[in-house]
Symmetry: C4
Subunit: 339 residues, 4 copies
Amino acid sequence: MDLKEVRTTARERMKGFCKVCPVCDGRACAGEVPGMGGLGTASSFKDNVIALAERRLNMRLMHDAVDPDTSVELFGKTLGIPVFAAPIGGVSFNMGGEISEEEYVDGVLDGCRELGILGCTGDGVPPFISESGFAAITRLGGAGIPFIKPWEDKELFEKLDKAVATGADVVGMDIDAAGLITLKKMGRPVSPKPVAKLAEIIKRYPAKFIVKGVMTPDEARLARDAGAAGIVVSNHGGRVLDHTPGVARVLPGVAAAVKGEIAVIADGGVRTGTDVLKMLALGADAVMIGRPISVAVVGGLKEGVVAYLEQVRAQLTQAMVMTGTAKASGVDKGILFEG
Amino acid sequence: MDLKEVRTTARERMKGFCKVCPVCDGRACAGEVPGMGGLGTASSFKDNVIALAERRLNMRLMHDAVDPDTSVELFGKTLGIPVFAAPIGGVSFNMGGEISEEEYVDGVLDGCRELGILGCTGDGVPPFISESGFAAITRLGGAGIPFIKPWEDKELFEKLDKAVATGADVVGMDIDAAGLITLKKMGRPVSPKPVAKLAEIIKRYPAKFIVKGVMTPDEARLARDAGAAGIVVSNHGGRVLDHTPGVARVLPGVAAAVKGEIAVIADGGVRTGTDVLKMLALGADAVMIGRPISVAVVGGLKEGVVAYLEQVRAQLTQAMVMTGTAKASGVDKGILFEG
Amino acid sequence: MDLKEVRTTARERMKGFCKVCPVCDGRACAGEVPGMGGLGTASSFKDNVIALAERRLNMRLMHDAVDPDTSVELFGKTLGIPVFAAPIGGVSFNMGGEISEEEYVDGVLDGCRELGILGCTGDGVPPFISESGFAAITRLGGAGIPFIKPWEDKELFEKLDKAVATGADVVGMDIDAAGLITLKKMGRPVSPKPVAKLAEIIKRYPAKFIVKGVMTPDEARLARDAGAAGIVVSNHGGRVLDHTPGVARVLPGVAAAVKGEIAVIADGGVRTGTDVLKMLALGADAVMIGRPISVAVVGGLKEGVVAYLEQVRAQLTQAMVMTGTAKASGVDKGILFEG
Amino acid sequence: MDLKEVRTTARERMKGFCKVCPVCDGRACAGEVPGMGGLGTASSFKDNVIALAERRLNMRLMHDAVDPDTSVELFGKTLGIPVFAAPIGGVSFNMGGEISEEEYVDGVLDGCRELGILGCTGDGVPPFISESGFAAITRLGGAGIPFIKPWEDKELFEKLDKAVATGADVVGMDIDAAGLITLKKMGRPVSPKPVAKLAEIIKRYPAKFIVKGVMTPDEARLARDAGAAGIVVSNHGGRVLDHTPGVARVLPGVAAAVKGEIAVIADGGVRTGTDVLKMLALGADAVMIGRPISVAVVGGLKEGVVAYLEQVRAQLTQAMVMTGTAKASGVDKGILFEG
């Protein structure tokens, strides 16, 4: 399937929700929450893209990294490329509803499977969001990572129980959703989790636990101390707090705090394989990709996702050749230009 | 009342005076004085907004600041949120005159009262500006802060006498209005006040005295030495001198000079509750909000002001949750990203 | 005469040569030489404006500088404001020719006289450019400063002889015109002047000599050593070399080299009285204003110039009040914000 | 031939491939590969132009550099100006094909000859690209530099054999083409060359060897160690890797590593003679010019190239006069403004 066609279809299907811009940078959709935009002035969304764009790569051609290895080992699994599909839900109110929540989740997870990677599934107030995800992961024998929002105990544990029951051996919680006052108003409070509470939650389940929404070195250490197997450095796509720094801006500090102890996944502004390589050079073990995958699945279901991810893999491969990077699991910081 | 509707009404009523832009940043109205714009190139107005936007917040979610306290104590009063409505007058020549000066002042003061905060009232050459303010404050039993321009002695003392007679126990002077050559040409000179003169004025009245228009650490100390109970760090919305720095840019230095001794109020570019939190982190005890409240009152009178301030309170609450800030009266500088 | 009307008339008369933009910043006319633009990408012209705009002023209101003195002493004369009209010629090919060279020069010089300052006159290949200037200065008994281009000896001395014969006791040479290859192609070579040559030229005349086109501290010292009474820090309005720094960017270094020994005049991007004050704070003794005066004289002859200069004086006065500056001859560097 | 006319003709002939913008900066054609644009977001192309524009020149006029010498000695030859035409091929798929590959190459090489400089010729999958170049150089008795892509051994040596057979005593390889995955997909792999391999290639031929595509000091040293007579600091016009730094940004470091040992040629963003002078001041011995020469030859064949290069020479001459630079072979770093 041709990616250009996927994008054209997505542009039609997401009309009023996403313009499918040449570069997805948060300008056209500023303030559109619900929708695909960033909160308020969208400065958090925009800075995800800007902070990545500010970093430049040293080009090197005198080496033998002719056939680079794009795979990485993470959570005991081998991933074809160091990429996860981010947990995103709410197709009807965020993307226009031209495809169903089930089609969305299936397309993402099946597409990821083709590339040898894992898709994450989302959560929300309407039960069908998490249920669609659980069903898809169950169908794939656990090949997916269910993310649950930081609800209060009863709802949280009910959902985590279901998440683990899918067969998934890695689960996650996006604590960055805690600022969604809308949920609280709907009588479904979410909240920050003190480290002791987090440790209690993590201990309760046999699965590897990912904490999403870490933006500072101190909280990276807290997540590690609470028993997390990995963190996602993320400002939730700029949808929960205006004026946070872009992820690429905080990543080096966060990674320095816990790198090698737990997995560090960077989520914010990644659009291309070149962006993936930059995030690895900045300290990530892998990245999450959000909006571009949403566009791909709305525009072409599984085939759209595959087309997009194959492009990412090709770009990553080329960028590795052009920087002399032999393995995605061992990216040298020195490929970043400092000047 | 819906804030979107308030803004739509304001856009109609302020036609030719204010475009009620998505972000009120000084670009569309550059040079429009009288009107709602900044003087000259409007660089002082613009930099108020830019200097705030440049500061970014560290997002933290592993804590128990679930129900943050937005109140602060200032001038012996408890304020529901750390916000004052700025002293603004001249509805007819600055805003189009679709509502009267009395309606304006009443809307602002009554709206503030709903949120448990205080509105300030303005001053000018036409007597009805200050008189409208005095009347409204008197009606509310002193619940408001009358601001007087830096006139020469006779007019100054006459007006301050009336200000105190309203029952207000806090009064202010916006010395930043001293550059208004127009007033001098109309035979109504305003002027800077040397510290000895300022001390004499302050001593004359039993009320707590606020000096508005302090932009440097040295003048913050002078204001304190003259007996001021508080200062407003302000460039008068960029309407009296082109090319001053934005308030958020000078605030840390000014606050460092007098913090804890007198109240430090930041006035410049605050649009949202997130901006309020940034100003507190930069050293302010509270903020003043100008143009957005003018738009709210012109668009919806008291109800417009309430709708706007409730939004500010909700944004401030969410921003406090998302940064782990438990109390508005004790904001940690560490919530600001340094990188 | 109303300045708005002057600008409207100028916009009509200069059609195709100058758009009389809200802020004269070099963008609309990039590359228009001849015309009113900067050479090439106009980056030198633009940076004159940008470098000034980047500097910000500390606002101070606790002082007694209520009636600031805008006058300065320079070259043994008292100037009402620290401003010279820059030497500009070629009305026909640069400005559209709707007024004559004589009208232009007379308007500038007579207008300056009203404000108690001096206008400079220009030079070029067609003899009427310098002749118009000489005639006007002669008519005013020497009240003007004739500038001669850096021709080769014969033409240079003939013109300087005439310049001195006007009665002017200050004359100048714009060595920055030396890059005008067009002149050389027309068989009228101009060239840089080594310091020995410059000293010889200066010694030959009894008048005080101003060297215009100094952009580095080392050449400021050379000009002083050659006997110059003053220098003009100038990139010739960005018309002779693309990609020079803006004048406000090099001024502090240049001024530090010779301040107090010879007069330092800053020429580049000054549009308002606030800009004048910034240049003084950056180390200038006075400024030159170019394009805005051209627009004023084309739009309103002498009256246009007077209207413009009165506005500059009013802005300068207000900016002095708002920064606590009592005398234009003693501007404190501390009025510039460093942050 | 008038350059304006050349550009107008080029705009018609390159319709859909190049807009012939006022400043060729990579914005209008972002992502157009094939075509004339930069890869992806075109940030590498854009930064070539931006990095040059950021550097500013010190203007100096008190000296005797009245008739500067623009020539340089390189590879045992005297060049009239320190400029090479970059190796560019593929007129049909990159430029619209309104002129033939032969007309293109002949125009470039003949035009360069008029100015006393050398044109380079390109390479690609269709044989006529390199063959056109070899034919033109042979016709000129070796007056040109053939560049070969980094093919695998058989194709590489076959082409280099032919290159040397043209009579050229300088040949080059653009290793920066190694990332062109398209070539690999067409069964014609190109690849990076480890230093030992590079040494083997260079040793095999009697010609002086230029390695194009060096962007770091370490690879500059490797190229020198491998026996290269010169390097071209180049990101291939931003067409092989998005997000590299602009050439002017890395040039000082690269030049410092090998200056004086081997020739350093800077290729990226040079549009004017002023840009040439900046590159020399930043450490280059000469520059390459790409797109502007393509536009010139498509718009006016040999005459177009001559008109463009004469303009570059005139601009370079003027910039040398205005900075006090007597010889292009000895440019003082001090002509760059540091501030």
